[in-house]
């Protein structure tokens, strides 16, 4: 039989009526009488002849359905729904491989797209359809469910005819027969059951004598004849029972309660065969014959109905009068609405019956015609359910007769819409009929036409299914939607989006009816379509739904997997993320065994930010402020390089090749047993929620070195745990530590943490080295070298220096001295030695030198011993000599002595550290210690310990100074040093207590004896002091720079050692008369020496090439007197807490005129010529090169009576005080000869004298240090005091000294002679002696 028809479950209904005794016999085999017949319903080998209208034909197949008289009830919708639920739930969903879905396989691969046919429905869908058909049985309009035949069963022991008659009484009959809806005219068959287990079977003929007299068709069936030793038959009765039997059965019926025991235990093969033979041989024949007769009969009725008279009657409205009295009874049940109810003798019912009988007899032509006719009637009655059924059946008939596809579609559409119409008036049951019609439509499309047509119509079916789903209960809707989704996926161009959408809808409906497993299946099937295409909103929804439902189903691992995907997204709004986190936390709390989440994406670790911080290198410490010294600091290299041996410090060049020691050196990261190393990593919270991270720690592994054994229970390393709270979207730098306890190889694998107290997770650290670029493969793909900074060897214990600075002030005043202490402790396990230190700003610090032990009082007494009292109150001037220190090139590096040359573990050394604020501003002083273990290790030869300190230097006293030529002898010209001090501090009263001058060749003196002692200066006040600077006795003037004479170099041994010759003199000028400070002491002199010590900058050391040729020594040994002097101003505040020294160094009273000669060219060895002399702007300084002095008597007596003109010799001494140049000067008397002649005695007594004798001198050259005595004659006309002036000495040219011999001597002529400053004024008093002489 056609599958489509089979799906609809059409069969001729046989009503079974049985006596209690007959039931009792069957009950022995644990079944009812109806059950006995139920397995035998379909026969394909009947070969019965039939004739309904036209030609005779053979009926080969025939379908029966046995229904007990009490089983003709409609199944309530709730019951059927319940059954559907059970059915769907009972189907084990094949455990959807969610992992495969998580891998996001391309959705298209999963479907047979374009293959044409709707993919096979899910297995439970087939069962659902069967159940659906079953649940819709016995509806009022379902005339096919009316009995066609009736089997009356009694026990063989009973009084037969009466019993049979009593069975036919109305009380035993179903409601449809009682109400007259079904036809009473059915085929009847009488069966006597004999219980063989109680008595042997009687003779059939004798047993049936009585019955056969009354009825034609009667049969004796002996059952329960199984021998005890015969095998029990397989239970074929239970599967053939309708699933909803109990619901169909009339309430109060004594149906056997469902039993777990198998049915048919007492039946033998013969029994079964006898029943089958009865059904096939007797009953089927009888029914076909009956149906045939009824069809003929009803056809005649229909023919009469089609007469003209009836037609007119029907037009006039007098319908329903087919057979006179028979008019459709109006349903008494439907209050309000009058629904037509067709009794069996109504013409419409008869036409339906004709159609049904013809359909059962496979005469689809008559059936179609009758259905159509009946349909017209129903339509005019607005009996929509009847009409819909007739259309549904008509469509089926069209299909079976290969009729027009269009007609079929039309009929089905009408059926569906009519059912829906009926739904409004008849509850949801009609909607379920519509569902059946839609499913029929799906079947018909599948079976009819070629593949192409099928595929094109699938779309219509899909939409019909979707439309119908809105009318249905959740479960049916879900099934329909899923079916629709399958239809979409099988279209010519697969509509995957619609497929997925409808799957999601189906999943939603599944969830609504608590079918979670099916919901998960539907959702996960749809997931692939939405994944990774930007539809994050939908993705999140699906992930969340899947996660939640999987958790409910107990598939925690899968659920967590979905939640983790949600968290990875992290773009959702805050409320949704809160929901996700809450749900995940709940799941994890309830299932703590699953709280280990290896792939938790929260928080995010920025792998690129990972840095390992070692004790030696302070590799990175981004936690610390930027001014803390670490390997990334720009000053690190210039500070560290000089501390390393040259072989390690340099990396070689192209000629020498790479430095072997650096290339073959051990990995840069080395850790030491018992020392903590730290790893810094950025952690980020991508969510809009606050995250609590606890137990954040490093995950490490330690491979023990050979020969090292770990004791059981002893951890090879320690880690520290942290708690971090990350704000929404926040970022933190975490510093995680590990401390190895054993030697070996430490590997930092990753980090572990606990999120919000519920989820434990870990991440792996994978560092990338630089990108590779050697081969083509490297260039094409992105390949990175392996970074092994997370793998480090652990070496045996080493010394570890801990350096601290005690007593370091935060702020200092400019020049302030302060004593702090370096506290050096060896916190390692082995002693350390060779401690060296390098400073970033050597001018600020003096390390390791301590002040003399003598107290201040003692020093003061000592100073007082050599008091040279000056003025009132006393100014103390003290002079001491000292040996100048050897010039030191590098003040920044020094080595620190240790007690016994080493610092033992736990030992502390305190080293004095003098600080002096050398310059204004905020400074960071970096100290880096370099030390070596006493037993050196191959891996780690030396260690470093950086310390940084910040200090802010505030202004104290601002100094301005000038040096001017003072009055002195021409050979020893004096200079005046003016010092102006201004208190620029922000509120401290400062007092200048002492002034020191340190020089090899100069000394200071007070300018005058009545010099004032400086008062304490309030902020803003200033004070000026003038001092005389003169050359020390016995120190010759510096010789002019000339090329070194060979004699000096050749005979150094003949002379005394230079160092012994040169002494340095300290002059102290104390203003307070107490607390004289010796400027030779530490740290005063030390700071003076370091005043110009350069600070270490990033460029330091870069230009030092170890391979460069070193300059020849020898010339440096020549003793050289320093022509400079330094001034140290000692100040203190009122309380004496702030003590400082301000320094002026390299003061030159007589600065060199010319720049120093350039160094010889390295390559050619030639001396480059000096810059052209003309470029040197000496015009301003040239006049002062000539020192002028006038010599003459103070007073003179002259007898004007004897001679009106008094002449007096005057000597003008001109000295070239320069040491470098020859100067050419001119001399002239101002006014010239005119002045001399024009002047008369009328001149003022204090007037100017006239110059006689030598009045002009042109171009006189003076060598350096040479003097010229000009003999002048002054003439006076009268008595009086004469100021000797009125002449001019001017410089007109100059040349470099010593070049006069060479022809290349270049004489620089000045455009205009420049006048020299006049000599100190001399006054000549002329006394008249005329009277005396007279």
């Amino acid at each position: 039989m056609d599958e489509v028809v089979e799906n609809q479950g059409f069969a001729a209904v046989v009503m079974v009526l049985s006596t209690p005794e007959a039931e009792a016999i069957c009950q022995k085999s644990n079944m009812s009488v109806t059950d006995l017949f139920r397995p035998f319903t379909s026969f394909n080998d009947l070969n019965l002849s039939a004739q309904t209208g036209g030609e005779q034909y053979r009926v080969k197949t025939f379908e029966l359905r046995f229904v007990h008289a009490k089983e003709f009830n409609e199944v309530p919708k709730e019951v059927s729904d319940q059954h559907f639920q059970q059915l769907v739930a009972s189907h084990e969903v094949e455990d959807v491989d969610l992992r495969a879905n998580l891998e996001y396989m391309s959705a298209k691969d999963n479907f047979t797209t374009g293959s044409g046919i709707v993919p096979d429905s899910k297995p439970w869908f087939h069962d659902f359809r069967k159940l659906l058909v079953e649940s819709l049985r016995n509806g009022e309009q379902c005339t096919l469910d009316h009995p066609v035949a009736c089997v009356l069963v009694a026990a063989s022991t009973q009084g037969q005819v009466q019993v049979m008659n009593s069975l036919l009484s109305a009380s035993n009959q179903p409601a449809i027969l009682r109400d007259g809806l079904a036809d009473h005219n059915t085929a009847r068959s009488y069966v006597l059951l004999h219980d063989c287990s109680a008595s042997p079977p009687p003779n059939e003929k004798t047993a049936l004598i009585e019955l056969q007299k009354a009825y034609n068709s009667c049969q004796l069936i002996p059952i329960n004849s199984r021998e005890k030793d015969a095998p029990v038959l397989a239970d074929m009765w239970t599967p053939s029972r309708p699933a909803m039997l109990s619901a169909m059965t009339q309430k109060g019926a004594d149906d056997a309660p469902p039993s777990a025991e198998p049915r048919g235990t007492l039946l033998s093969v013969d029994d079964v065969e006898r029943v089958r033979e009865y059904v096939k041989g007797t009953l089927c024949k009888q029914m076909v014959a009956h149906l045939q007769a009824r069809v003929t009969q009803l056809s005649a009725v229909r023919a009469s109905r089609q007469g003209l008279q009836n037609k007119i009657r029907s037009w006039l409205g007098g319908k329903k009068g087919g057979e006179g009295s028979a008019s459709p009874a109006m349903s008494p049940v439907s209050a309000g609405r009058k629904l037509p109810r067709y009794t069996s003798n109504a013409i419409e019912a008869q036409m339906m019956k004709l159609a049904d009988y013809a359909f059962l007899l496979r005469d689809y032509g008559i059936a179609l015609k009758s259905y159509r006719d009946a349909g017209l009637e129903f339509k005019s009655d607005k009996a929509w359910r009847h009409y819909a059924l007739s259309q549904e059946m008509a469509a089926l008939c069209i299909y079976l007769t290969d009729g027009s596809r269009r007609d079929m579609d039309e009929a089905l559409e009408k059926a569906t819409t009519s059912y829906i119409k009926a739904r409004s008036s008849n509850g949801d049951r009609a909607a379920r009929h519509a569902t059946r019609a839609v499913l029929l439509q799906m079947d018909l499309l599948r079976k009819g036409g070629n593949k192409q047509q099928v595929r094109e119509r699938v779309r219509e079916v899909a939409f019909a299914l979707v439309g119908q789903s809105t009318e249905e209960s959740n479960l049916c809707a879900a099934l329909l939607l899923e079916q629709a989704a399958l239809c979409f996926s099988s279209m010519p161009s697969a509509k995957l989006r619609q497929y997925s959408f409808h799957l999601i809808l189906a999943g939603y409906h599944y969830i609504s009816c608590s079918q979670r497993r099916h919901a998960v299946r539907a959702y996960s099937s749809a997931l692939g379509i939405y994944m990774s295409k930007g539809w994050t909103h939908i993705e999140d929804h699906i992930h969340f739904t899947l996660g939640r439902n999987c958790a409910t189903l107990g598939r925690i691992e899968t659920a967590i997997g979905f939640f983790l995907r949600l968290l990875r997204h992290s773009r959702q709004p805050q409320e949704r993320q809160e929901t996700f986190m809450k749900e995940l936390s709940t799941i994890l709390r309830a299932n703590s065994q699953h709280s280990q989440l290896p792939n938790l994406p929260l928080p995010r670790f920025n792998q690129r930010s990972i840095k390992v911080i070692l004790n030696d290198h302070m590799q990175v410490s981004r936690l610390a402020p930027s001014d803390v010294l670490c390997a990334a600091h720009p000053l690190w290299a210039p500070l560290v390089k000089p501390l390393l041996p040259p072989a390690e410090a340099t990396s070689g060049n192209w000629l020498t090749g790479g430095n072997k020691s650096s290339t073959t050196a051990a990995p840069t990261s080395i850790c030491v047993v018992g020392e903590w190393i730290y790893l810094e990593v950025d952690i980020e919270n991508p969510m809009h929620l606050k995250l609590n991270i606890t137990n954040l720690r490093l995950l490490c592994s330690l491979k023990l070195a050979d020969g090292v054994t770990a004791e059981p229970g002893e951890d090879p390393f320690k880690v520290d745990a942290h708690e971090v709270e990350l704000a929404a979207g926040g970022r933190r730098l975490a510093r995680l530590g590990v401390c190895p306890n054993k030697e070996g190889e430490l590997r930092i694998e990753g980090a572990g943490w606990t999120l919000n107290g519920v989820a434990h997770s870990s991440t792996k650290f994978e560092l990338q080295g630089r990108r590779l670029n050697k081969t083509k493969a490297h260039r094409m793909g992105k390949m990175y070298s392996f970074d092994q900074s997370l793998i480090m060897p652990v070496i045996p214990p080493m010394p570890l220096l801990k350096a601290e600075i005690e007593g370091m002030p935060e702020t200092m005043m400019l020049g302030q001295r302060h004593r702090a202490e370096l506290v050096l402790t060896n916190v390692g396990r082995t002693p350390l030695s060779s401690l060296r230190l390098r400073l970033s700003q050597p001018a600020f610090c003096v390390v390791g030198e301590d002040a003399p032990s003598t107290s201040i009082e003692a020093a003061a007494e000592q100073a007082a011993a050599a008091v040279d009292g000056i003025g009132e109150p006393v100014l103390l001037l003290h002079q001491r000599t000292a040996v100048p220190p050897a010039p030191k090139k590098d003040w920044a590096t020094l080595s620190l002595p240790l007690p016994n040359g080493e610092l033992k573990p736990g030992q502390t050394a305190r080293v004095p550290l003098w600080l002096r604020a050398n310059s204004l501003g905020a400074h960071t002083l970096h100290y880096i210690f370099c030390y070596e273990p006493t037993s050196p290790s191959k891996m780690l030869k030396r260690r470093l310990c950086p310390v940084s300190q910040k200090v802010i230097v505030q202004p104290a006293l601002a100094i301005r100074h000038f040096i001017r030529r003072g009055r002195g002898t021409t050979e020893n010209p004096g200079f005046v040093l003016g010092l102006t001090l201004r208190n620029t501090s922000s509120g401290t009263r400062l007092c200048l207590s002492q002034l020191s001058c340190v020089s090899q060749s100069w000394q200071i003196k007070h300018l005058c004896k009545s010099a004032k002692r400086p008062e304490p200066l309030q902020p803003g006040e200033d004070f000026t002091i003038y001092l005389r600077v003169t050359r020390q006795e016995g120190v010759p003037m510096a010789p002019p720079p000339k090329p070194a004479p060979p004699a000096v170099a050749a005979k150094p041994s003949n002379e005394q050692p230079a160092a012994a010759e040169v002494t340095i003199t300290h002059f102290e000028l104390n203003f307070t008369g107490q607390g004289v400070v010796d400027s030779r002491d530490v740290p005063l002199l030390s700071f003076l020496e370091r005043e110009k010590a350069p600070r270490v900058t990033t460029d330091t050391g870069n230009d030092e090439n170890p391979y460069a040729r070193k300059p020849k020594k020898g010339s440096e040994a020549e003793p050289k007197i320093d022509e400079t002097f330094s001034i140290v101003l000692h100040y203190k505040d009122d309380s004496g807490a702030v003590v400082g020294q301000l320094q002026l160094v390299d003061l030159v009273p007589q600065p060199a005129l010319l720049p120093p000669p350039p160094a010889p060219d390295k390559r050619s060895g030639k001396v480059r010529p000096r810059r052209p002399l003309k470029e040197l702007d000496l015009s301003s300084r040239l006049p002062s090169m000539l020192a002028l002095t006038l010599d003459c008597a103070k007073s003179s007596e002259h007898s004007f009576a004897a001679s009106p003109l008094c002449t007096q010799p005057v000597f003008l001494r001109v000295v070239n005080s320069s040491s470098e140049i020859d100067v050419c000067f001119t001399f002239e008397v101002l006014g010239g000869p005119d002045r001399a002649t024009n002047l008369t005695t009328a001149s003022a007594p204090s007037g100017e004298p006239i110059w006689l004798g030598l009045t002009t001198l042109s171009r006189e050259w003076l060598r350096p240090g040479e003097k010229k005595l000009l003999a002048l004659t002054a003439g006076m006309w009268a008595v009086g005091k004469y100021t000797l002036d009125g002449f001019r000495v001017a410089v007109c040219a100059w040349r470099l000294a010593g070049e006069i011999e060479t022809s290349s001597a270049e004489v620089v002529e000045l455009e205009k002679p420049i006048s020299c400053p006049p000599p100190p004024t001399r006054v000549l008093e002329i006394v008249d002696m005329s009277d005396i002489s007279d």
Binding site: L496, R497, Y530, K533, G534, W535, H537, I538, E575
Partner: protein, 154 residues
């Protein structure tokens, strides 16, 4: 015509902008927005169908001047009480409008889509706008869309 939602879909069928409009606050819940996401995503199937149909028709009629496609795709499909309209630019950017179930003239819809297309073009012409990215951050586009929808400027 009452707009329930509009959407701009990128070349790769990725959502660039999906916005739901509703009169009541309740309708602006996440679920309502999710519903429109589903509706718009499903509409893409119909967009593809319509474009394919247009192309077939154009090839059938005249092949000399090349197929001339109308960017306005008309009604794509009805769903529940909504109707979904579509418009596809030549650069394969798609505009979807979801309307409450009312009859709308095609000319009106066409004009609306043209305006929306114009706004989109103005936005992506900004040299600082990365191509093929979401438009939620484009304040101007949002504002213009609001004006277009609120004032009924179509």
């Amino acid at each position: 015509m009452v707009l329930a939602s509009i959407a701009v879909i990128g070349k790769e069928h990725n959502p660039l902008y999906i916005r739901a409009f509703s009169r009541s606050q309740q309708d602006q819940s996440e679920e309502s927005l999710l519903r429109f996401h589903f509706i718009v995503h499903t509409a893409l199937d119909f967009v593809e169908d319509k474009i394919a149909a247009q192309r077939n028709a154009a090839q059938g009629s005249s092949s000399s001047s090349g197929p001339k496609l109308d960017p306005y795709l008309g009604l794509l499909y009805p769903i529940e009480d909504l109707r979904v309209y579509g418009y596809a630019s030549t650069s394969k950017v798609k505009f979807i409008a979801v309307l409450d179930d009312e009859d709308v003239k095609d000319a009106q819809m066409n004009a609306f889509f043209r305006r929306l297309h114009g706004l989109y073009v103005d936005t992506v012409c900004n040299p600082f706008h990365p191509p093929n990215t979401e438009l939620y951050d484009c304040a101007k586009f949002q504002r213009q869309v609001d004006r277009l929808v609120d004032a009924g400027l179509y």
